[in-house]
């Protein structure tokens, strides 16, 4: 494993988004993972529609909440093609599901892997390098006031309430950390990112980890 790895360096991570007052973090994290998996495979980074997942994933609750795993199960079962963000733009509220013809551009998933990696963050790093960015859930209560630095304390596991995307890790300094993309805009945290210590399941970051294949 490298000491430092970040999928952003390979230009396969889309810009930080802003979920505004929509509780659709679960959709942002899943769509971010699909965009990256597609970019890694096809060398073409496309911004895909988060709103489509929010509106159409019937086993979730749109802007009122949802689960990354339920969204991935829905995408895998239906093989729905996610269209471009520009075609189905984000409205920050749940709407009616729009359907698109088969000929339109879209990305469907071929499968996904989802595991509890608690106590195995070394393996989780390997998965990040081998599979691509990881959609994870965390307890983000203390993130309300976060400005920067590496989260090591005041962030327990076992009460996941937010979904984000891990894009890399850095073990070159005294505290190894995950590089995590959030969906609260670029003005939050470190240009929209947060650093979470690796190794003790801080914020429950290793409890619900998924990676998608396209």
């Amino acid at each position: 494993l490298p000491k430092k790895f970040d999928w952003r360096d390979k230009k396969v991570i889309a810009e930080v988004r802003n979920q505004q007052t929509c509780g659709g973090c679960w959709a942002f994290s899943v769509v971010g993972g699909i965009e990256s998996a597609y970019a890694i495979k096809r060398n073409n980074l496309e911004e895909l529609s988060v709103q489509q997942v929010i509106d159409c994933s019937y086993n979730n609750y749109g802007c009122s909440g949802g689960s990354t795993i339920s969204a991935l199960s829905w995408l895998n079962q239906t093989k729905v093609k996610l269209v471009r963000d520009s075609e189905y733009t984000f409205k920050a509220q749940t709407g009616l599901c729009h359907y698109f013809g088969q000929s339109d551009f879209g990305v469907s998933i071929t499968g996904f892997a989802a595991y509890d990696f608690s106590g195995q963050e070394e393996e989780m790093m390997r998965m990040l390098v081998n599979w691509g960015p990881l959609a994870v859930t965390v307890d983000a209560v203390s993130w309300q006031d976060y400005l920067g630095g590496i989260i090591q304390y005041h962030c327990s596991s076992g009460r996941a309430n937010h979904a984000v995307l891990i894009t890399g890790f850095d073990r070159t300094g005294s505290i190894p950390y995950w590089i995590v993309q959030n969906s609260w805009g670029r003005t939050w945290g470190i240009d929209g990112y947060v650093r979470v210590k690796i190794g003790s399941n801080v914020c429950g970051i290793a409890d619900t980890v998924s990676s998608v294949f396209v």
Partner: protein
């Protein structure tokens, strides 16, 4: 907003400042997380949670490492 709304925001900001002092008390080096006033400071924690923290938890099986050479395609 009106006077009452201003009062509520001021109360949320006071609570945020108190929380930030507590959270920063564990930051003993320059790599530790630091906390402060940001775009969510005007919200009470319950409001913040109700708006932004809407991920539903999902229990997953533990990852079992496959020994080298025994991986399936």
């Amino acid at each position: 907003g009106g006077g009452r709304e201003r009062e509520t925001v001021a109360a949320a900001l006071r609570e945020s400042a108190k929380r930030v002092r507590f959270l920063n008390s564990s930051s003993n080096d320059n790599t530790s997380a630091f906390y402060g006033i940001n775009q969510f400071s005007h919200l009470f924690p319950e409001e913040f949670k109700a708006i932004y923290l809407r991920s539903i938890p999902h229990k997953l099986p533990r990852y079992i490492k496959v020994p080298k050479g025994k991986e399936k395609p």
